[in-house]
Structures are given as C-alpha cells and as structure tokens.
Symmetry: C2
Subunit: 119 residues, 2 copies
DNA sequence: TTTATATATTGCAATAATACGATAGATATC
DNA sequence: GATATCTATCGTATTATTGCAATATATAAA
C-alpha cells in the first residue's frame, strides 16, 4: 500500500485532517505563532526566526498555504503572509464541539450513576 | 536529511504539533468522531466502521494513543477506547487563543484605518 | 543593463507514514 | 485442554515527508 484511502471519509473529516496535518510539524506551528506576533507580514523574517534553511521554510509555507491556513500578498520582492481566520475558526469550532460533546457525555454518565445509587 | 528538527522548538509547539499530526489523517478523525457517537467504547466496531483492515485500524489507534488523544481499558477480550478530554482541551484552547488574537488584530487595524481617515 | 534582494523550484538523500497479510498473544467459552 | 474471538505485532511494499544545496525566477536599485 502507501497512499491514503481518503475517498471513504466525509468532506468534513477530510478538511479537518488536512488542516491538522498542516499543523502536524513544530516548524509550521512555529510559523503560525510567529505570524501572530507581528503586525505586518515579512516572510524573510520567518527564515531568520526558524532553525531551517530558506528552501525548507519555503516548503513549509507552501504546505500551510495549500491547506488554506495562510495566504500571501506580493509586496515588491517580498511576500506578506498572513493567517486565514476561516481555517482557524474551522479548527476552533471542531474542537469546541468535541469538548462540549464530551462534557455532555460526562454529565449523562454522572446522572446515570446517581440514578443507580438512589435505587 | 529526513528526520524532523524538532529539538529547536518550544514544548508547547511540539505538543500541539504532535496532537495535530495524530489528527492529520481522515481515518483518525473518523475514529474520534465515532468515539463521540457511542455511549460505550467497543474497539472492534471501529474496524467495522472504517474501510480499513484490522491491523491498519489497530495502528491508527496506537498513534492516537501515543499522541495522548485516546486511552483504552481492557474489558475481557475487547478493549474499550475513549477520548482524552485533556488533549481535546489543549487543542480547543490553542485555536481559541489564536482566533481571539486574530480578532484583536483585526480590531486594531480597523481602529488605525479610522484614525487615518479622520485626520 | 547589471547587480542585489527575496522567494520558489528542482533534484536528491534519508526517514517516516500508510496499508495489509500473516501471525502472535490473550481471554473467554465449550 | 481445544476452540473461538479480539487485538497487537511483524514483515514488507509503496508512497509521503523532511531537509538542503544548487538553481531559477522575479522585482527593485544602481
């Protein structure tokens, strides 16, 4: 084998997996963290910020871009990268939803246990 | 090269990357989604649920377990897997934090633009 | 037009991930 | 104990990812 059997899963599952995969490397998490600290883009600074060679950073940026987590504007010779709010929101909403479902489950289990105790 | 240069990044960045990576495959997202729908564990059902062979599912479960996203209890011959709340909370908090920082940034930019317009 | 600067692409090597058949281990049932 | 059931591990083939040197591309400055 080798290739993923992605065709069998729902669109939502594939979207979350794609976004999560893009953040599945500390260098790319680090890029996102860095983009949050700067007021204005500056792509070249990311290369200075990371302990990686320029082509490697460029590749990581490409993956983040392909996943939809960042976008870039050309400004002269430089390129201004910024985080895509919508992608972050998708992830935020997904995990918030899971957390709330887990919380709900916990409540049901506790209620059931109380019910058993009171019999 | 090949191996990741993970040693240069912060613990938090590595933690998020590890959790995100574990969800970087639709089969594993699908497993999490499935665990949310059932009241009680049942590992064998996951194999029936997914379009993958039993060893492949077992491997995906192992990765989710190694990343700390799920845990398992042995119940006779079966194994009862469940989602770890703390891991989900880490992800939820991380993306909530990013979303709020982005929102804050947007507000600052708008305020600046208004300031410029009013001069 | 030449030169400098910034980013992307290519090509390659090393490692990791994905998938599954075959098989092992562990517990229940007969 | 023999058998059935459930899950994990091993071995292996295929593909993907990571990383960088070298090079290409594209714009700005001289």
């Amino acid at each position: 084998m080798g290739a993923s059997k992605t065709e069998h899963f729902s669109e939502k599952q594939k979207t979350i997996a794609t976004l999560a995969k893009a953040l599945g490397h500390p260098a790319r998490v680090s890029i996102i963290d860095y983009l949050l600290t700067v007021d204005y883009c500056i792509c070249g600074d990311i290369v200075n910020e990371l302990p990686l060679a320029q082509p490697t950073v460029s590749q990581h940026l490409k993956e983040l871009k392909n996943a939809g987590l960042i976008s870039g504007n050309i400004e002269g010779t430089a390129i201004c990268y910024y985080i895509d709010d919508k992608a972050i929101d998708k992830l935020k909403n997904y995990f918030t939803e899971i957390a709330s479902k887990l919380e709900q489950k916990k409540t049901i289990i506790e209620a059931t246990n109380n019910n058993i105790r009171n019999k």
